[in-house]
């Protein structure tokens, strides 16, 4: 069964890491990507503009009740949690911070795991906190595939290390190897 979506969580150092990953996808890469990067509450949509320079895919800020489409990279807006619904639409909400973060990676990963089950890939990148560890565990429990950036290639090691420590990470990869690996295991447009 091909993977239907990829969720990525990143925090401190995430801008650079996301750039490397997003720019490494082939133009025919055909699996939707949903990203939660920790941002300050009042940041503008710089991240979206920045990432759009490096890819043929369309990077956009996630909209409320938007349908998830192939060829798109969705970014959680500042100050909102991003959730995946079981009908493969996106929801935003303003509930309390989770792991001191809004958007929180756990919120995205846990809801995506419910929606996509074993057809989901979850990736934890650089970060200085523990957000996403619970989410990684949930993805694995639902039969999905889990990846962590190798902590020694991460600007901040704590977040990928916390994910690895759960025992639910399938693959630990160097940053540059992550897009190569994804190009291999995900379906391309024919």
């Amino acid at each position: 069964m091909p993977y239907q979506a990829i969720v990525i969580g990143s925090s401190a150092g995430g801008l650079h890491a996301l750039k490397i990953i997003i720019s490494g996808f082939s133009a025919s890469f055909d699996t939707p990507i949903i990203v939660t990067q920790h941002l300050s509450p009042n940041s503008d949509n710089y991240l979206v503009q920045f990432l759009n320079q490096f890819t043929q895919l369309t990077v956009k800020e996630a909209d409320e009740k938007e349908v998830i489409l192939r060829g798109y990279v969705y970014i959680a807006p500042p100050n909102f949690h991003l959730l995946v619904e079981e009908d493969f639409t996106l929801s935003l909400n303003v509930e309390e911070k989770v792991n001191f973060a809004r958007p929180s990676i756990d919120v995205l990963f846990e809801t995506a795991a419910e929606a996509y089950k074993n057809q989901l890939i979850g990736i934890i990148l650089t970060g200085a906190n523990h957000d996403g560890a619970k989410g990684i565990a949930r993805i694995k429990q639902k039969g999905g595939y889990t990846i962590a950036q190798s902590p020694d290639t991460a600007e901040a090691a704590a977040m990928p290390q916390a994910a690895i420590n759960t025992g639910f990470v399938d693959q630990i990869l160097k940053l540059e190897d992550i897009p190569v690996f994804l190009n291999k295991i995900c379906k391309s447009k024919v």
């Binding site: 909209d63 409320e64 009740k65 807006p77 909102f80 959730l83 995946v84 619904e85 079981e86 639409t89 929801s91 935003l92 909400n93 303003v94 509930e95 309390e96 919120v107 846990e110 809801t111 419910e114 929606a115 089950k117």
Partner: protein, 281 residues
């Protein structure tokens, strides 16, 4: 039959969740069936873990027989996060684009739906006051959560947030010194009674209660995001029936009326701030 039940599979757990929401509705009258499923599931899931239960069915059993548990679940499902002058640009646009038109009415009826602990209501009351409209306004502030309404009625908020609110107020185009509107008391500030006198706080459930009638302005921010599409549409219809022709609707920064059944009956006043006006014809 074995005593050690297997943990529920996907289908089973979805059936159980449906039944749990049905049980809550039939027993207690709160209807979460058309809320964002992902949100409801996540919140109930953490409740299950907290009670060390295995399934939604077990939680259902518990809350059917124990109102206390239900109240906890209800609190867990209602998200009350709010602040004063949240999104200052929304208030700034209201001031420049909507207030001048509201000034043409001799009497105003304003409805804050999903007002939570009241910060939004006092913010708007300050704006009305500064624009000379407060005295002719009747403000209805509603929520389905009676706990938050009690806090809203008191109008007492922690001093620790005042710095942030003062900045918001200024960004929103505030005309006075923000401290004119409250009295500080130890760790709290209490908002002026003169701001409260035209506000009625009341319980109202957007899913199960009826229209409000003849409002000039409805503000409902960060509530629709908790609903699924069809419930969002239903509630937008309710707002539409409650507004006078030419009345205004202000939504949260991520909410809008695009692709909803009311879309064509409204003119966009400000697309970014999600301010709309019901057409006259």
């Amino acid at each position: 039959m074995s005593k050690n039940l297997a943990s529920p599979d996907e289908t089973t757990s979805n059936i159980e969740l449906d039944l749990l929401l049905e049980a809550i509705f039939r027993k207690y009258g709160y209807d979460f069936r058309d809320y964002s499923r992902a949100h409801v599931k996540r919140r109930l899931y953490s409740r299950i873990k907290q009670h060390e239960l295995q399934s939604f069915s077990q939680l259902q059993h518990l809350l059917l027989y124990d109102e206390q548990t239900f109240q906890e679940v209800l609190r867990g499902l209602s998200i009350n996060v709010t602040e004063m002058f949240r999104d200052p640009a929304f208030y700034a646009k209201m001031r420049t684009e909507v207030i001048p038109l509201l000034k043409t009415y001799p009497y105003l009826k304003i409805w804050h739906a999903g007002c939570s602990t009241g910060e939004e209501v006092y913010s708007f009351a300050i704006l009305l006051h500064e624009e000379g409209l407060y005295e002719r306004s009747q403000i209805y502030a509603t929520d389905f959560n009676t706990d938050v309404l009690e806090t809203a009625k008191r109008g007492i908020y922690p001093t620790s947030r005042i710095k942030e609110y003062t900045m918001n107020y200024q960004e929103a185009g505030g005309k006075n010194s923000f401290s004119n509107y409250y009295t500080a008391r130890y760790d709290n500030v209490i908002f002026d009674a003169s701001l409260k006198k035209n506000i009625v706080f009341a319980e109202h459930n957007l899913v199960t209660d009826s229209v409000f009638a003849e409002a000039h302005l409805i503000i409902c921010r960060n509530v629709l995001i908790y609903f699924n599409r069809s419930l969002q549409n239903k509630v937008l219809q309710l707002f539409s029936e409650s507004l006078i022709k030419g009345g205004f609707l202000g939504l949260g920064s991520k909410e809008n009326i695009l692709f909803s059944p009311i879309e064509n009956s409204y003119k966009t006043i400000d697309g970014e701030q999600k301010i709309y006006q019901k057409k006259f014809i």
